[in-house]
């Protein structure tokens, strides 16, 4: 239909190595975006002045800190969660800048639409919340997770199995898949409309461009929102899991 030539998915998400090809340090577009997702927030924080009256970049940096503090840590953990600010801020910034390259020209690819970064971050969150729970609650942490105290003894193996599965397998799986699938879906959506626009524009159907092009612009805006929201949700869920490890009673 419309002479639409949809590219195979490898052309959309798999990028060839530019440096160190074939080794474990193969440096491709995703690795470049990961590096930039580290460098850009670091530069924003580094070059923001530390004035009494914030201006310019300082507003951006302090806005990010305030957002993570007020909207992520305080509702999800409480005041004693403020010591995890560096971790949660790093997670938020890394995920957000990995996502936002989805709509930045030339790059047009979210780093998190590849499983590597989401999976690594999710496994790190698993390690972090297990470590925090064990550090502050000892072995009681595992039994508290496995079954609420008033569960009858006969049911404990079943409940414990389900709860441990849900905590240690489904939580990181859900975290990773949520981020990955959201960004991959957004990327495929943008590619689909981009391909559609090109296919329509070259033929006699070009008046249809009046429909497809605004839609592409609209979806680009929507993907900016999704980029932010997914970073926010990732940080929020990390905070919620840390909070549940700190105070397993509720």
């Amino acid at each position: 239909m419309f002479g639409l030539e949809y590219p195979p998915i490898d052309n959309l998400v798999v990028w060839p190595d530019a440096l160190f090809e074939g080794t474990i340090l193969g440096f491709n577009k995703i690795a470049l975006i990961s590096l930039l997702a580290m460098l850009i927030p670091a530069a924003i924080f580094f070059f923001s002045k530390k004035d009494l009256v914030p201006r310019g970049l300082q507003n951006v940096a302090e806005g990010a800190v305030e957002l993570v503090e007020k909207e992520v840590i305080l509702p999800a953990i409480g005041p004693d969660g403020l010591r995890y600010l560096p971790l949660l801020l790093s997670v938020f910034l890394f995920v957000f800048f990995g996502n936002i390259f989805e709509v930045i020209p030339v790059f047009q690819m979210p780093a998190n639409a590849r499983m590597a970064n989401p999976m690594f971050l999710a496994l790190m969150v698993l390690v972090v919340f297990t470590f925090i729970g064990f550090k502050y609650n000892g072995a009681k942490f595992f039994t508290d997770i496995a079954w609420p105290p008033d569960v009858p003894v006969g049911l404990r193996p079943l409940v414990g199995f389900i709860e441990l599965l849900s905590t240690f397998i489904l939580r990181p799986f859900g975290l990773a898949v949520r981020l990955f699938a959201n960004m991959l879906a957004g990327h495929i959506l943008l590619v689909t409309f981009g391909v559609l626009c090109i296919a329509v524009a070259s033929g006699w159907l070009f008046p249809l461009l009046a429909l497809t092009f605004p839609m592409l612009v609209l979806l680009t805006g929507f993907e900016i929102f999704v980029s932010f929201l997914q970073a926010f949700v990732f940080a929020l869920l990390t905070a919620v899991y840390i909070g549940l490890s700190l105070h397993p009673a509720h």
Partner: protein
Amino acid sequence: MLLLLAAEAAEEAGEAASNPILPDMSEMVWGVLSFALLYALINYVLLPPILRARNDRAATIQADRDAAEAARARAVSASAEVDDQLSGVRAEAAELVDEARAEAEAERQRLVARAEREVNAMQEIADGEIEREREEAMVSLRPQVADLAADAASRVMGRSVDASAAGPAIDRVMNS
């Protein structure tokens, strides 16, 4: 442990090269390196100055607010003092005004009384003068009146009437 898991996954990815779900090992290595560096930078280098700047700002704002509060309290007490002074001054002024008014009233009454006295005195003098002049006029007019009356009477009666004879009658009329 994690890296082993990831390595396994990556090996599988190597077998099925086109699987878009499985992570790519080199991408994950770069992701781990980037994130670890970002976390280290934020934790040790980038975040503390910003938090310090924010605390400084909060402290400055608090200090300024305290200073403003103190200044306000000072202003309130000063204005209360001024009000006190002002009301004292006002009472004093009212007292002075009352005093002055009473004095002025007394002075006025004194003046009025003196003026009345003077006027009365002058009137008495004038009354006496008028009376005296009237009497003088009577005395000076009397002979002429007597003559005129005698003349008139003689004409009426057809015979001469002596003025001196008529004198008592004239005196009676004029004094009545």
